[in-house]
Amino acid sequence: MLTAEEKTSVTALFGKVKVDEVGGEALGRLLVVYPWTQRFFEHFGDLSTADAVMGNPQVKAHGKKVLESFSDGLKHLDDLKGAFAKLSELHCDKLHVDPENFRLLGNVLVVVLARRFGGEFTPELQASFQKVVTGVANALAHRYH
């Protein structure tokens, strides 16, 4: 999937990511740009405006959790399906999340990285990250039944 070079460049960029901030921003933007995704978070309190969402402490906390998990996954780029097996079962059996949402979140994460890294987030680096987010989304969908 990724060449050794791509793995190095992805890991290098992600090493600079402030996981708690980026996670919160990505999840927040998912909920703002695709408001139907709020269906999973009705217990999060005020999601009525973009400002409310982006400032919501539960969104930030959950975003951090999600990105930490994603971060862990990056250490297992050769076996994402194995790395995310348990989480896949959880998202299917307990959380009932349509895997399409993983694809949406992956693309939102790419936009957030572009916003934070600007020119450093080159087309080539984006291409590598697109492969990673697709791999993670597929891994999270893999155990669905």
Partner: protein, 142 residues
Amino acid sequence: MSLTRAERTIIVSMWSKISTQADAIGTETLERLFSCYPQAKTYFPHFDLHSGSAQLRAHGSKVVAAVGDAVKSIDNVAIALSKLSELHAYVLRVDPVNFKFLSHCLLVTLASHFPADFTADAHAAWDKFLSIVSGVLTEKYR
């Protein structure tokens, strides 16, 4: 799906900034498209798609100019892009999935060039607007 007044305001005001770098934005968007979604290259066998190619720059300008036309007629995108819609339906016949890819790459390019302006609200407005543009360009497909 149609834009709220607030969304229209965001897009029009951001466009005045974007248009000053229109060509660079267009070129970069296409570079991102072809890097990330190689299947999009199948529509351009006749092009030199290497970074810096004159054809890439020219086509990037064209694409961004069309987006600009849609922005200028934001209240009636269907009329503004009617000819382009026919072109895509009867001549180019680009598979609709590619509009999603192109829209995503344009969002990434905008986020990278305008980090402060590209707020969550702006992100939502642009995603919605490009979705509308894509819909117009594919509405005559069948």
